[in-house]
Each structure stands twice: as structure tokens, then as C-alpha cells.
């Protein structure tokens, strides 16, 4: 609550700073605005920045390290006997304190010392917030006053404001990098913990995935991820068998044959297909496609499980059709008209021109598009979670139920995990594999497509 209050205070002081700075500049100029190096609004922004930015930095700094600091203070106050030695129990204790402090009942009667600690935590917290509020406000006011004093006709307010904004812009463009770094670090950090419990080779080459049984003791035999990898590959393969020919042919037809009116109708259809959320496809797969395929299989005398790789794969393929077709469409359109003319000029029919000239010329781009589609399929979660199931079968039978890397991740984690059970950590091992594989696919695919574009530019 105090944070919101401080934010409001900072905002108000910034606005005040703007007005003060602008008026001051006008006053200094004394009616001859042209004597100012920068126009008055820039002086306003200059003061506003001084009022706002330092206080905001303080706030951000405090919010990001408040928890650990207070916790260490609280733990320092606890009797030493109460503080457990091993990290796991310590985390548990800290969680207890936090829960108590937040007023969440843990179900059991709390240890009085822990209850004290929770009260202490809360009082530290309140104290800290009040201090923060006072300090933040003081900082803002100081900044405002100091900046106002600096205002002169020759103050290069515009340049300074713009330099600040420039820094801001750079920071914003670094967010993307930070996200990647965050992903890599969090995956690596937890995955390494996992691999200290389960050897990497057991994980990558083990044939049995059974994390439910892995509570304690020797867990390495329960985390063989091969069935997940094969399941992922099987479903991806089925999806590609559907999506690549259909998507490619649709793109070919759209770019080489279709009249503009046809294109005007079909393009939105494909766009709608692309815009449907995956959870909807998942529902469709479970509700319609899986029973349909089961009935069809039974009619043919096949043994089809109610959750089959085929149903999930086919629906995923349908989902990916627009992805493949729009990428291929771009790629095909990049093939120079001169090549088509050359072929038509020799008396080739359209399909001959497409099959023998356009598609081979577009091949690198199409390969790139397919790789991106594969990466999409590997990373897809909801369809598989809803239609293919959780059974980690090591099979290549499309009628059997299989599971995938993503489904295991999604079904294991529900936000409230204990971070030291191998089952939870295994998810980060899987996530790391998923990230690395899709990253490699994407990097190669993007490079291939880029090279291809350059060739015909």
C-alpha cells in the first residue's frame, strides 16, 4: 500500500517539478524566450526527471531486495537453536514465517518462536515501508529543488532530457536480452540442481519416466526422458505430415493460382485458423477428433486408445497449417518473377513451373519455414495436454497414448512447488532441453530464411 502511495507522491512531485521548471525558465528568460538554450518545457522535463528518477530507483532497489534483507534480520533475532542447518529445512522455516506474516493459516499450530518471528517480520516490514516513504519523498523534493537551482538561460536542458530518454530507450531494448538471460539462468540454475540428483546420461538416455514413484532414495531410474522425447517426435511428425503438404499447397495455390477475390476470402480463413488459441484446439482434439479417430480405428479393426498421438498430432497439424502457409507464401513470393517468365517462355505449364522452378528456388526458405513449424510443434503444450495424455509410453504407434516434454512440464508444475523435490526440478531439465532444441532450430531456420531473402533481394 505504501508503495502505491509513494508512487503517487513521486508522480505528483514530478508534475510539480515540471511546472516549477517551466515557469522558472520563463521567468529567467524574462520575455525573451530566444535567449534560452532550450525551450521552457524542456526545463520542466529536466526538473521533473530529477524529482522522479532518483526516487523511483530507490523504490525499485528496495522492492527487489526487501524480502531477503528483512528475512535475514528476522532470522538474526531468532534463537540460534531454532535455525536449522540444512538449506531445505531453512527454506521451509522461511516459508512458514512468510505465511504466518501474510496471515495465511498453515493448518497446524505454529511454534511460538516462529509466530514471534512472523510478528517481527511484519513490524520490520511496516517500519521499512514508512522509512521508504519518507526517504523517497525527501529524495524527490531534494531532486526537485536542486534541479530548479540549476536553471539558467544557458542550461542545455533539452540535451540532458534527451540523453536521459535515450538511456531509457536503451534500457527498454535490453529487456529482451534480459528476458533471454533470465530464461537461460533460471533453467540452468534449477536444471543443474536436478542433474546433481539425476545424472545427465540417465535423464537423456533412460527409458522409463515415472516421477510419481521418485520420492526419495535412488531416483535416477525414474527420470529417463526418452519416452517423452519419442512422444514429442511422434506427435511433431504427425503434425508435420498434415501441416507441411497442406500448408505448402495452400500457399502455392494462393500465390500462383488464386484470383484476388479468392485470396480475399481464403486469407482471412487462414488468419482465423491461426488466431484460435491452442486451448481451443485442445478441446476440439479431445472432444471431436479423438473420438472420431477412435471410432474410425475401431471400424477398421484397430486398437485405438481414447487419447491417441494421432488425434493430438492431426489437430496440431491443423493448427500449424496457417503458420506454414503464411511463411511459405512469403518465401514463394520472394522468388523473382523473371524465373517464372523464363519457364513460361519455354512453354512450361503453371504446375511445371511451380514444381520445377519456383519450389526448388524457394526450397531453402521452405526448409526454414518447416523448421520453424517443427519448433512450434515441439513447444506446443495445450493440444497434447488435452488430447494425448500423460502416459509416458515408449512407442511409435500413432494410435497409442503418448506424452510429451511440454505436457510433463505443464502437468507437474502448478505454481506451488517445493523447489527441492527431484520431480519439480526434473521439469527444468525438460525445459532446458526444450529451450535448447527449439533455439537451435530457430537460429538455423531464421538464418536460412534470412540468407534466402538476401539472395533474391
Amino acid at each position: 500500500m505504501q508503495t502505491t502511495l509513494l508512487l503517487t507522491v513521486i508522480a505528483v512531485l514530478s508534475v510539480v517539478g515540471y511546472l516549477v521548471g517551466r515557469n522558472r525558465a520563463v521567468a529567467i528568460a524574462g520575455g525573451r524566450l530566444s535567449t534560452l538554450h532550450s525551450v521552457p518545457p524542456y526545463h520542466g522535463f529536466y526538473v521533473a526527471l530529477w524529482a522522479g528518477v532518483p526516487a523511483l530507483i530507490l523504490l525499485a532497489g528496495w522492492v527487489s531486495c526487501e524480502g531477503p534483507i528483512i528475512m535475514s534480520l528476522v532470522l538474526g533475532q531468532l534463537p540460534a537453536a531454532l535455525i536449522p542447518q540444512d538449506a531445505q529445512a531453512l527454506t521451509l522455516l522461511q516459508t512458514d514465517i512468510l505465511n504466518l506474516a501474510a496471515g495465511v493459516s498453515t493448518g497446524r499450530e505454529p511454534d511460538p518462536a516462529v509466530a514471534d518471528a512472523a510478528r517481527l517480520y511484519n513490524s520490520f516490514h511496516t517500519l521499512a515501508e514508512s522509512c521508504l516513504l519518507a526517504l523517497g519523498a525527501a529524495l524527490a523534493v531534494t531532486g526537485l529543488i536542486l534541479a530548479k537551482r540549476q536553471i539558467r538561460t544557458e542550461l542545455r536542458a533539452r540535451n540532458r532530457v534527451e540523453a536521459t530518454l535515450n538511456v531509457l530507450l536503451i534500457l527498454c531494448s535490453l529487456v529482451a536480452i534480459l528476458t533471454t538471460v533470465g530464461i537461460v539462468l533460471s533453467l540452468l540454475f534449477e536444471a543443474i540442481q536436478f542433474f546433481t540428483k539425476v545424472p545427465l546420461t540417465d535423464f537423456l538416455f533412460g527409458l522409463h519416466w515415472n516421477p510419481q514413484t521418485a520420492f526419495s532414495g535412488d531416483v535416477s531410474g525414474s527420470f529417463g526422458a526418452v519416452p517423452l522425447f519419442t512422444g514429442t517426435l511422434l506427435i511433431t511428425l504427425i503434425a508435420m505430415v498434415v501441416a507441411v503438404p497442406v500448408g505448402l499447397m495452400a500457399a502455392v495455390y494462393m500465390s500462383e493460382y488464386a484470383a484476388p477475390t479468392v485470396r480475399a476470402v481464403v486469407k482471412p480463413v487462414l488468419e482465423i485458423l491461426a488466431g484460435i488459441p491452442t486451448v481451443v484446439y485442445g478441446f476440439f482434439a479431445a472432444l471431436t477428433m479423438a473420438p472420431a479417430i477412435r471410432d474410425l480405428g475401431n471400424a477398421l479393426g484397430l486398437d485405438v486408445s481414447s487419447q491417441s498421438a494421432l488425434a493430438a498430432g492431426v489437430v496440431m497439424g491443423i493448427m500449424i497449417i496457417p503458420f506454414v502457409s503464411s511463411l511459405s507464401d512469403d518465401v514463394i513470393n520472394a522468388v523473382p518473377q523473371a524465373l517464372r517468365d523464363g519457364s513460361y517462355g519455354l512453354g512450361a505449364t503453371r504446375s511445371e513451373t511451380i514444381r520445377e522452378i519456383v519450389l526448388p528456388a524457394a526450397l531453402p526458405g521452405i526448409v526454414g519455414a518447416v523448421m520453424l513449424a517443427v519448433s512450434r510443434a515441439i513447444g506446443e503444450t495445450m493440444i497434447v495436454a488435452m488430447a494425448a495424455g500423460l502416459a509416458a509410453n515408449l512407442t511409435a504407434n500413432p494410435f497409442a497414448a503418448v506424452t510429451t516434454v511440454t505436457v510433463q512440464i505443464a502437468s507437474t508444475i502448478r505454481g506451488d512447488q517445493e523447489f527441492n523435490s527431484p520431480k519439480t526440478l526434473s521439469v527444468f531439465g525438460l525445459g532446458l532441453v526444450l529451450f535448447v532444441v527449439t533455439l537451435i532450430l530457430n537460429v538455423i531456420a531464421l538464418r536460412v530464411v534470412h540468407k534466402y531473402r538476401e539472395k533474391y533481394d
Binding site: G342, G345, I357
Partner: protein, 275 residues
């Protein structure tokens, strides 16, 4: 695209001759040809005869419709949606815009070489073999090898590429690429070859090469060439047609045009007053 090709041969035999073309040595005759891009008229009432086994040069300032006319002769304009052709163009007395005419067959008979060399992204061999293969003119193997060799020889490229037939055609130099495109056109044994500024992307030596080639090819093919280069027109062609603002102003023996133009616009153009 006219798909109705079932009774092609009979149709060709039975179709009435286009009017005003008793002269057998006229390979192509164009009568009252108008071409529109959407509503814009690019060619107006063109009447022109292309004689067999001769080189006809089309000259004129940029945008006057030379390429448009050339592309009418093998119906390449069909590939442009907004383009509409009126009037009659006859190949050997047969109207090529008649319903029974099949563009595939027509373009096999009337080949084309483009301004910018456009070799397919395939090997040199496959570039040449592509046409004969789709038309079924030669079987894979020795027969096709022979077609490839003779086409490259006629295009004067054999010596340079005979050891690298498997390399991509796009790896050749610009002049070689253009000769490759000519060889590619020859490989399907057309009757007419249309060339749209075939030398504009080439250096003088490569240009000289192609000009020699055109002169040699004249004995077996009828050639129509668009060029911006007066000397080139004078060197390679026997007949020259001058286009201006979508009209065909004058068509005559090349010598006549260059020494004694009838129209003052022609004179202005060839003496370099505009264009």
C-alpha cells in the same frame, strides 16, 4: 489460358487464314493490335509483318511499348492479369489469340530471351534440359546429352562450360548466363526467338559475342530483337521497326531506316535528338 487443346492439329489445318497475309515468307503478322494495361492503352493499332529467317529489330524510346509488343507474340502477356490484347496476331497464318491455340505449344514454338539473364537455379545441364524434358522432345540419357551439347554449341557456350555442366547456371558470368538462356531457348527448337534487350546487361565483348550468335541463328530461326542500341540494330537486323508512344511509326529494311527514314520522329530518334 486456353485448355482446349484436344483437336489442335485439325484446328490448325482447318482454321481460316488471317486476312491480308498471302506472303508465305511472313512468319508473323500483326494486324490492328491494341494492348491495354487495365485502362491504359500501351499499344495502338499496330500493323507489322515479321519475315521468316530474318532478324527484325524493334527500336524506340523507353516506355513506347516494344516489350509489350514482343510479349504479345508468344502471349507472355497472359501472365499479367490486367493486360488485355485486341486485334490479330498470326503465326504461319494461324491466329495465336484464337481459342484453340494452346499457350504451351505456342511458347514452345516462339521462344523468348529476356533482358536480364534469368538462368534457373539448377545446373547448367538441367537449365538446358528443362525445356526438352517437359515437352518430351528427348529421352533422358544420351539423347538428352546430345540436345544439351548441340544447344550449347549453337549458343557458342559449349567450349566454356563443357567441363562444368553440373555446376549451377547462376554461377556463370552475365554474358555466359545470357548465352545459356539463349541455348535454353534453342533447346526446345522454336521457330521464332524473341529477344528483349538481350545485351543491355552485358559488356561490349559479351555483347559482340551475342550479336555474332544472333547472326548465325538467323539461318534457322526467325528472330525479333528489342534494342536501345542503334548500332546494334544496324549490325544485326535486316528489318527495323520504330515504335513511338505506343504506335508503330515506321517499319522498313534496316538500311533504309538508318539512311533514309521517312518519318521525322524516326529521324529524330536515330540521330539522337530524343529517347
Amino acid at each position: 489460358m486456353s485448355m482446349d487443346n484436344i483437336t489442335l492439329t485439325t484446328a490448325i489445318r482447318q482454321s481460316p487464314a488471317v486476312r491480308g497475309m498471302p506472303n508465305i515468307s511472313n512468319k508473323i503478322t500483326a494486324r490492328d493490335v491494341n494492348v491495354y494495361y487495365a485502362t491504359k492503352r500501351a499499344l495502338k493499332e499496330i500493323n507489322l509483318d515479321i519475315e521468316e529467317h530474318r532478324v527484325t529489330a524493334l527500336i524506340g524510346p523507353s516506355g513506347c511499348g516494344k516489350s509489350t509488343f514482343l510479349r504479345c507474340l508468344n502471349r507472355m502477356n497472359d501472365t499479367i492479369d490486367i493486360c488485355r490484347v485486341e486485334g490479330q496476331i498470326a503465326l504461319d497464318g494461324q491466329d495465336i489469340y484464337a481459342r484453340v491455340i494452346d499457350t504451351v505449344q505456342l511458347r514452345a514454338r516462339v521462344g523468348m530471351v529476356f533482358q536480364k539473364p534469368n538462368p534457373f537455379p539448377k545446373s547448367i545441364y538441367d537449365n538446358i534440359a528443362y525445356g526438352p524434358r517437359i515437352h518430351g522432345l528427348a529421352q533422358r540419357g544420351p539423347e538428352m546429352d546430345e540436345v544439351v551439347r548441340s544447344s550449347l554449341e549453337r549458343a557458342g557456350l559449349w567450349g566454356e562450360v563443357k567441363d562444368r555442366l553440373k555446376e549451377p547456371g547462376t554461377g556463370l558470368s552475365g554474358g555466359q548466363q545470357q548465352r545459356l538462356c539463349i541455348a535454353r531457348a534453342i533447346a526446345v527448337s522454336p521457330e521464332v526467338i524473341l529477344m528483349d534487350e538481350p545485351c543491355s546487361a552485358l559488356d561490349p565483348i559479351a555483347t559482340a559475342h551475342i550479336e555474332e550468335l544472333i547472326d548465325e541463328l538467323r539461318t534457322s530461326y526467325t528472330i525479333v530483337i528489342v534494342t536501345h542500341n542503334m548500332q546494334q540494330a544496324a549490325r544485326v537486323s535486316q528489318k527495323t521497326a520504330f515504335f513511338h508512344l505506343g504506335e508503330m511509326v515506321e517499319c522498313n529494311d534496316t538500311e533504309e531506316i538508318f539512311t533514309n527514314p521517312r518519318d521525322e520522329r524516326t529521324q529524330g530518334y536515330i540521330t539522337g535528338r530524343y529517347g
